[in-house]
Amino acid sequence: MTSHATTEAPRRFLESERAHVLLVRVIRIAFPHDTLPDSAYERTADSLLDLAVRTNRMTLAVANGLDSLGSLPAGDFLGLTVEEAFEHLRAIERTEFFSFVRGNTVLTLYNLPEVWEVLGYEGASVEKGGYLTRGFDDLDWLPEPRVEEYSGEFSRVEIGALPYAVTTDPTPEPDRRTLPDRRTAADRRTAADRRRAPKRPGADEVTL
């Protein structure tokens, strides 16, 4: 079914099961998480469709965007592999349709309590007395750090170089965004050991 072949106006198409199914797949391909329940994607799609029908501009963009996914050169979007589907979304990244889906998914999907739960976020806490007795300081894989201000031998430098060594990298790599780390745990220990600062009390307890 396409909206061209029927007398349905774009708004009616957006209320159809087909539009919903297509949108769920678009969102799932664009925002893949192994861990999220289907309901999270379903609810996000519902909410985006509700939003789209509120203005003619978005009704037109979203109905046309979804409808045209049925007749891609490679076939129906629903039949594409994950890789093909992802590549297709890359190709339409700049369209108003995709911008609408991307922007509103970010605002909707990650605002769902069921998603927070899967990601390990506990959310509202004031009714439960905050996190004071519920783990605000339960991180146990690093030693207890100092909370007071420094009171050692050095005074604070306000102008000029530091009189103590700080790890720096004069030639930063241009882009380290989200690079997966391929080092082994042993490498990492070495990196930590490369530190030039004197060990703090308790630093040996690190369990990395």
Binding site: H33, S125, D137, L142, E149, R156, P172
Partner: protein, 521 residues
Amino acid sequence: MTAFDHDDEVVVIVGSGAGGGTLAHELTTRGIRVVLIEAGAHIRLEEHVNDEWEAFGQLAWTDARTTSGSWRIARDFPNLPAWVVKAVGGTTTHWAGATPRFLEHEFRARSTYGDIDGATLLDWPLTLAELAPYYDRAEIAMGVSHRHARKALPANNNYRVFANGAARVGYNFYATGPYAANAEPYDGRPATIQDGFNFQGDRSGAKWSTLVREIPRAEATGNLDLRPDCQVVQITHDARGRADAVIYVDADDNLHRQRARVVAVAGNSIETSRLLLLSASSRFPDGLANSSGHVGRHYMRHTTGSVYAQFEHPVHAYRGETMAGVIADEARHDPSRGFASGYYLETLSLGPAFLAAFAEPGSWGPDFTALLDGYANTAGLWIVGEDMPQANNRVTLNGTVTDGHGLPVAHVHVDDHPNDTAMREHGYRQAELLYDAVGSVSAHRTPPYPSTHNLGTSRMSVKPEDGVTNAFGRTHDVPNLFVSDGSVFTTGGAANPTLTIVALAMRQAEHIVDLFSRHEL
């Protein structure tokens, strides 16, 4: 509640945030009658919510603004150049609490950094020594940790990663503050329950804000007439060029006129400049107090950026005081790093809703979702450093876009200065090294959020031709018109601005009282 007449000659303060709320408290407790006009609603503590978007919708200034320039905000958030609040208490309802002082040389930026191409640096007409007593008073009022016998906050999870990383790269000057939330009960307010919602409005009252401290105390004097949901749209002046009233619009779009013997504007840089520009008259055709042409110029928003690092083990960084972690070693002027001035590193954590919106705006796909999949094992920090003032980084009136009252909205133009970019790069790199030192498996560089620090658009200057206000925030052009917020910053310093805004407002209040008593105002 006190109500003054529209014809009473009162001190009118525009805006009830850090600057305006403090000034109102200082004046009313000294017996001066004040009408405090606030564009936003009076939202009580019990109405605050532990929910990022809901609290944003409840408190943030979401009326339209526009932006342009090379800064990434123009692309990522074209209608939200700044994250500020429109409510009684202003942005102190959403603020975190980090409260470093300016360093001595930061008041002498031009002399210390020299002539930097494209930067409009100037020395402040004020020294640290002159401001120090007011810093003391501000810290005591705000209950700043680590100062005046206030306890340090405990180490939350995010700080544990941050401080251990800091120690391992060789930093020394790290601590859980200075930070203006109570570690133990103080000043009639409770100790923090570490609810993790500093950026949303703190329901417990442990965090300092003018909503919990200055405004209720000012009201108790009987000298304060607080008018929420009223937006000042013009300041008028008499034939001698002295401010004589403000025009404001109420929630029902009715216009009112309030007479004034003194007007103090504290709308947070962008709105302060907008109001002065909206108040143009025959005598001040370029905007009130703008004979110098500096109103709206030298807008500063600090050089910022965040790094979110993931670990093999859980962090749960969202639990606890959001910004109770400060590293000061890089907050120094050391040109050998390749840039002038310096920056702080401070702990920062967002919930998944805000992390998704801000971590990499415009992004999608598996790289993006990986940032969220690792949420529970993520630690985060913020880089905040001095940015260079530039003449064309500037707030102007938008000629075509109007707000709900039909008035031109503010347009904010910002180009990053090469010094800003170099500093941000350095901060990103140091943050990555810090997290690497405690075993991070990945680190992500997040670009600046809509500006939470907005400064410099009515800067203080010795000479009237160099700026808008004198060392007390009194405008050079209009003797009974004051600016009482971060707009008056001559340069930005590296420190988060609020402590300095409060200290300056306290100093300004004393000056106004002094001028009154000498019949010079």
